[in-house]
Symmetry: C2
Subunit: 262 residues, 2 copies
Amino acid sequence: MKAYIIAVGKELLTGRVLDTNSNYIAKRLNGIGFRVAAIKVIDDEQDDIASALKESGKAKPRVLLFTGGLGPTPDDLTLRGIAKGLGKKLVKSAKALKFIKRRYEELYSEGMVDSPELNEFRAKMGLLPEGSRILDNHVGTAPGVHMREAGVNIFALPGVPAEMREMLEIEVMPRLEKIGGGRNRVEESIMVPCGDESVISGAIRKIGAAVPGVFIKPDPAGFYGSGTMKVYFSSYGPRERVEEAIKLMMNEFSKGKKTGGV
Amino acid sequence: MKAYIIAVGKELLTGRVLDTNSNYIAKRLNGIGFRVAAIKVIDDEQDDIASALKESGKAKPRVLLFTGGLGPTPDDLTLRGIAKGLGKKLVKSAKALKFIKRRYEELYSEGMVDSPELNEFRAKMGLLPEGSRILDNHVGTAPGVHMREAGVNIFALPGVPAEMREMLEIEVMPRLEKIGGGRNRVEESIMVPCGDESVISGAIRKIGAAVPGVFIKPDPAGFYGSGTMKVYFSSYGPRERVEEAIKLMMNEFSKGKKTGGV
């Protein structure tokens, strides 16, 4: 099952903030068998959000997960963009407003904010695309959104990492586990006694042909001169295929054949 | 001038590796006046690379910068994907082959590799889309690529961070400075004595109307209860506009008006 991650926020495009959310989400989705087909980082612009939704939707992913842009400030436009991309109206959600009111009452009682009232900016977070269900935010105040459109599960999560993570773990993961990623990705790595990618390449091609469906990728960062390289083996097939590929790779380099079978 | 960054690599989509390259590149491009309109992270698949190129090309960016997938191993498909996206052939580049040969001879003389010869995997890195010029790699062995197609400057850089950074700084930045980003982005931040985004929102809207062209964005991470929040002001206009907006924001919160003008 394919999944797309779309991170919304100008601060990610200027480089002021490093996008760690997409990496966190990608790990969790892969962990339950989804294939993250692409990650997109886009601007806080309604049209960019709408276009990203439409573009990604063409690939018919099972999951389209937005992060960022749900807050009360004028630059927070993710739900507006999703509504535009789907040709839907933004509507006041009674459930969302009730949730937001409760959260501000809680924050007020803890002395975190100066008023428990739903001002217009707080109320803005309760405007959701038609057909949305809300996801509780256990850290902040903006509710998340889940909706299903033409087989695509659209999720919108906050961008503040602590809020995103809590909502992902508590609200989204159980839903995704029910949907099911459909594949069990296995990844293993070994150290190969060869520091030269252009030599390991021969072994990769040979083993790739012998054990199809196993993706073999060396990690070339900083290994020149060390005489060793880490090589990753991954597959959506049974674990035995990965183990078979690893065995073949170890054979290549244990025979004293430094050329990796070229 | 618009720029797109496309990072290629399955390890970024599985979450095994955090994409720090795009952030580094985004900072540098913004620093010389380019607007990074989107960052895309895609798989090591020829078709995905070709599609990303075509999709991004529609927006007529001045710069389209790929990172990752230039190495000798079978999964390194970026140049193949770019060629497919442009409807061009991959051709043996004499200059690239000469560069690769020289780099392996250097590595051999330093005892880093076991042979100085151009085996078929090393030679693969010399297959470039027609019309490419090469960019020197001062750290690794894969040459980078620069080409201009219909007004779009396409760059392909390695994915290993140390190689990417050196090539960006030495080979790409001088070219980009000559092209010119066209805009001077100014960003300043202040601490506002209010920890509630839904209150600051009123001031943002008011100031946004008074000083158009200034993008105002609070950083809502972890500020509840602290009674303060960092607010960023950015603009492509003259610095005076940013300073004017900051002055207005400080006025809002210095009058004891905790409501931020709502």
